[in-house]
């Protein structure tokens, strides 16, 4: 229990350190990310919080897949808010392109290949 809590806290802090510089621009200037994403005032705070949690969740998921904390954090930091929310909780379900072996072996393809190519 305490360990889980400590782990979670560590993730939150790690993510906070990384994303903090991007959330606010110079004091008083409205940042580009904010200007681009926020449409209603109710959205403003909620979207920041939700995104923060989703980022930290995604970092934990990456770590559970064997990445170290630093790599996981910087990899998640390079994603946009929309990408993080689309990925959160689905890391094991989305496609992972890997194999180079082309196993197009169905007979229909051979027929196809000679029948029509375009």
């Amino acid at each position: 229990m305490t360990r889980t809590f400590k782990n979670m806290l560590c993730h939150l802090i790690a993510v906070a350190i990384f994303i903090a510089p991007f959330q606010t621009s110079q004091a008083g200037m409205i940042g580009t990310q904010q200007a681009a994403s926020i449409t209603t005032s109710a959205d403003a705070d909620r979207s920041v919080v939700i995104n923060f949690l989703q980022r930290s969740q995604t970092v934990s998921e990456f770590q559970s897949l064997g990445l170290d904390a630093e790599a996981a954090t910087s990899r998640v930091a390079a994603m946009s808010d929309g990408e993080v929310s689309a990925l959160a909780g689905k890391i094991n379900a989305v496609p992972a392109g890997g194999d180079g072996l082309v196993v197009l072996i169905l007979v229909v393809f051979i027929i196809w290949y000679f029948a029509f190519r375009r």
């Binding site: 991007f22 621009s25 110079q26 004091a27 008083g28 200037m29 409205i30 940042g31 580009t32 990310q33 904010q34 200007a35 681009a36 926020i38 449409t39 209603t40 005032s41 959205d43 403003a44 990456f62 897949l65 064997g66 990445l67 790599a71 910087s74 990899r75 930091a77 390079a78 994603m79 946009s80 929309g82 990408e83 689309a86 990925l87 890391i91 094991n92 989305v94 496609p95 992972a96 392109g97 890997g98 194999d99 180079g100 072996l101 082309v102 196993v103 197009l104 072996i105 169905l106 229909v108 393809f109 196809w112 290949y113 029948a115 029509f116 190519r117 375009r118």
Partner: protein, 327 residues
């Protein structure tokens, strides 16, 4: 009597066979709707054949077609990078592969703009013919076997019915349009580019490219964001996010008069944009021109329910404080 019956049977059999063949062929045709679409209409202004021979080739290691594909388009766009360097940024050992979102994210760390194409074969061909190699996600498995794979489309020859891919160990895989579409379709026609920050993709939409640039700005260097926003504004002069983005870059580098000039133009086009008015007022105040800043921030505060009203009130307080100090 008997002969006639046999003939009738044969005729029936032939009819069934013809019907079967027809349904198989039409079934096949429906598997590759976009290739069929090309028969009806070839996209206007796109040449019938092209090949980007200059795109480098990296053979993939084990399951690392993601890093290899990404390295090919990124080196082509002017980044000094190798598949090995990218492996730590896109490869997930336990999944034995790379996620689409990480392919998009990794290029941004090298100041490239990752642009996901619309799921259209026409757009893919248009980008290749405009000189942009395209990373595609294919399912090269058959039947129940799923086999996700990244490759780079570097050319095509429509009269010959072939596309050319850098794929796996093959530096120039020629693959029929039909087979390519069948494998590509299963990824929802997923395709992406890694563009230098001053070059806009041939098929870019204003909204799509704007989000692509602002995603890059999170992790890219200031010069790249500045170039990208400048290019975005040149193409779509009315884009308010690009104006704010470019001005923020100038502001962050202390080039306040340049920030002012960008924001002035934006305020002229979008007199109701609170972020534009707020940032312009703030910039003017920093330049010591609080008298000019005050009416602008008052204008920004007129709509009280704006999501940026709080920021505008802070700026107003700052301006008033500076004015009273100067008196």
């Amino acid at each position: 009597m008997r002969e006639a019956a046999t003939r009738q049977q044969r005729a029936r059999l032939a009819g069934v066979l013809a019907l079967l063949l027809l349904s198989v062929l039409s079934g096949c045709a429906s598997l590759v709707p976009q290739t069929m679409g090309l028969r009806e209409a070839w996209p206007a202004g796109v040449p019938e054949r092209t090949e980007l021979a200059r795109v480098p080739f990296f053979a993939q290691q084990d399951y690392q077609c993601g890093p290899a594909a990404l390295a090919m388009t990124m080196v082509d766009s002017g980044v000094q990078v190798t598949p090995d360097l990218l492996t730590g940024q896109v490869y997930l050992p336990s999944r034995q592969g790379s996620l689409q979102v990480e392919m998009l994210a990794a290029a941004r760390r090298y100041n490239r703009i990752s642009y996901q194409l619309a799921p259209r074969l026409d757009d893919l061909l248009r980008e290749v013919s405009a000189g942009n190699p395209v990373i595609v996600l294919q399912d090269t498995g058959a039947g129940p076997v799923v086999n996700w794979h990244y490759a780079v489309v570097i050319g095509y020859d429509y009269p010959a019915g072939e596309l050319y891919l850098r794929s796996g160990d093959n530096s120039r895989l020629a693959i029929p349009f039909t087979v390519f579409e069948y494998t590509w379709r299963k990824s929802g026609y997923w395709a992406m580019l890694t563009m230098p920050p001053d070059r806009i993709p041939a098929t870019a939409t204003e909204k799509g490219y704007q989000s692509a640039v602002s995603a890059m700005e999170r992790v890219g260097e200031p010069w790249a964001a500045k170039n990208a926003y400048t290019a975005l504004l040149e193409r779509w002069p009315g884009n308010v996010v690009a104006s704010i983005g470019l001005a923020n870059q100038y502001y962050a580098q202390g080039e306040l008069p340049l920030a002012e000039s960008v924001l002035r133009k934006a305020a002229h086009k979008h007199p109701d944009s609170v972020p534009v008015l707020n940032n312009l007022a703030h910039t003017l105040s920093d330049l010591g021109r609080n008298d000019e800043a005050l009416p602008l921030i008052e204008q920004a505060l007129r709509p009280s329910d704006d999501p940026f009203a709080a920021a505008a009130r802070e700026t107003q307080a700052l301006i008033l404080q500076r004015m009273s100090r100067n008196q």
